[in-house]
């Protein structure tokens, strides 16, 4: 794993995207308010986990932070700027899309899209980083769900991101594949990449989180260090969620 602090990414000279600040952000689709009045700062450091039940707005918040969608009210700034610097963020989707190419070609494509040379050695290094060495020539769509998710991680890492957004990356994986993905995420976080990840899995949040942002019904309910969230949640919704009650 490369140490991002020591890397010389061309994009880093354009300035850091951190902290990402949400100021009074709403996101609405037609008459439906998906997110309401979000004030949040995502700073560098250990992983931030967005936790909450299905439909709480986690994925929407992640997409807003990535810049894939724009707020219908409020503002988001990146390192104090209104626009993020290109090439500094990467996103892994819950169900990643595999290009109709080989495993190596998928990584090569991501390298090229990031303005980097799709060099064979670099492709091999990225595949080894996610435990897919030896599968270079396999059609990406023939991989298992866990392997596809790790390939999506390799593509994301090909961007040499400052911030890596992960949207429930283990939601449909078995325990072994989940562990493999969590191990990679842990290593990436240690290398200096800011991890922002959604999950509704409390166990996973306990294993990975340094900080928890808890959402329910489109509102930010609680933002707190992970240990405090799991031992002394300060809101009723968070207490019920941690206790395993249904928070609808």
């Amino acid at each position: 794993m490369l140490d991002r602090a020591a890397s010389t990414s061309a994009t880093s000279v354009l300035g850091s995207d951190l902290p990402i600040r949400f100021a009074g952000v709403d996101y609405r689709v037609g008459a439906v308010l998906i997110l309401c009045g979000i004030d949040l700062e995502i700073a560098g450091g250990p992983p931030t986990i967005l936790l909450g039940p299905n439909g709480s707005g986690k994925t929407t918040l992640l997409k807003l932070a990535m810049g894939l969608i724009t707020p219908t009210a409020g503002a988001i700034t990146y390192g104090g700027r209104g626009m993020p610097a290109p090439g500094t963020r990467a996103f892994v989707f819950q169900k990643p899309m595999m290009l109709r190419r080989t495993v190596a070609a998928n990584v090569g494509y991501a390298l090229k899209a990031a303005g980097r040379r799709p060099d064979r050695l670099e492709i091999a290094r990225l595949l080894a980083e996610v435990g897919l060495e030896g599968l270079d020539d396999r059609p990406a769509r023939r991989l298992s769900g866990g392997e596809q998710q790790r390939l999506a991680l390799a593509r994301a890492l090909a961007r040499d991101p400052e911030v890596l957004f992960l949207d429930e990356p283990t939601a449909s994986l078995d325990p072994a594949s989940t562990k493999a993905v969590e191990d990679i995420v842990g290593r990436v976080a240690k290398s200096g990449v800011k991890i922002v990840m959604t999950t509704h899995d409390l166990g996973q949040a306990r294993r990975l989180a340094s900080e928890v942002v808890f959402l329910a019904k489109g509102r930010l309910i609680e933002r707190t260090p992970a240990e405090a969230f799991f031992t002394k949640p300060s809101t009723d919704e968070a207490r019920r969620f941690v206790a395993g009650d249904l928070v609808i």
Binding site: P86, F93, M97, R100, A114, A140, R142
Partner: protein, 229 residues
């Protein structure tokens, strides 16, 4: 008797028969290439851009897939005839006019089907390519490349349609012996004259060609599923 004579024409490499086959293939291949150059980008543009009247364009594309060849032939004839807007080109009753007619006939097929394929793929790729900050031109290239096997199948379908077409090339080509006579027009003419061996021979070649093209399309699809996913 007619069938064995037809077989003999094929097996002995009859010069007349194979000259007709050569011209048919040349005209159809050129028309397919022209239609690909027009239809694929057109399909991609309609698939990937939002503009007023887009739905109407899609309906028109789809409707034009069923263009009657004789109507296409008539339109191209009117365009290329001496008194028509392109009459000065002097290409009516030449293979060039036949290429134009077949291009007009199959371009809507290629545009409409490629639009559907590219739009479906774009729906699948949109989020990921946006997250990778892939620019508009690179998106088009990516989609065309990743849909290449489906697009080849579409081109082969267009080729098959053009190769089997008779009405349009008859009108704009004039069915002139040793000049604009192709397989389908020859079959029609020779059948009416009672020269069945040549008509049957050409029919066998035409059907074989279409079967080979379809087998190739099938092979491309299966190979792509096995090797590219």
């Amino acid at each position: 008797m007619d069938a064995s004579s037809a077989l003999e024409l094929i097996l002995t490499g009859d010069a007349t028969l194979f000259a007709i086959v050569r011209l048919s293939l040349l005209v159809t291949l050129l028309a397919t290439v022209c239609s690909a150059l027009i239809g694929l980008p057109l399909g991609a543009v309609v698939a990937l851009t939002a503009f007023p009247g887009r739905h109407a364009v899609i309906v028109i594309f789809n409707g034009l897939m069923g263009l009657p060849p004789v109507v296409v032939g008539l339109l191209v004839f009117l365009l290329l005839s001496r008194s028509g807007p392109l009459g000065d080109l002097g290409i009516l009753f030449t293979p060039a006019a036949m290429v134009i007619a077949q291009t007009v006939l199959i371009t809507p097929i290629i545009a409409a089907l490629s639009r559907q394929v590219i739009e479906d793929l774009w729906a699948e790729y949109r989020d990921e390519l946006t997250a990778m900050e892939v620019g508009p031109l690179a998106r088009v290239k990516t989609l065309l490349w990743d849909a290449r096997f489906s697009l080849v199948t579409i081109l082969l379908a267009g080729f098959g349609r053009a190769a089997a077409e008779v009405g349009a090339v008859m009108i704009v080509g004039g069915n002139i012996e040793n000049f604009t006579r192709v397989m389908t027009t020859t079959i029609a003419l020779e059948t009416s004259k009672g020269n069945l061996p040549l008509a049957i021979g050409l029919g066998v070649v035409l059907i074989t060609l279409i079967l080979v093209v379809n087998a190739f399309a099938w092979g491309v699809r299966h190979w792509s599923e096995a090797h590219a996913g």
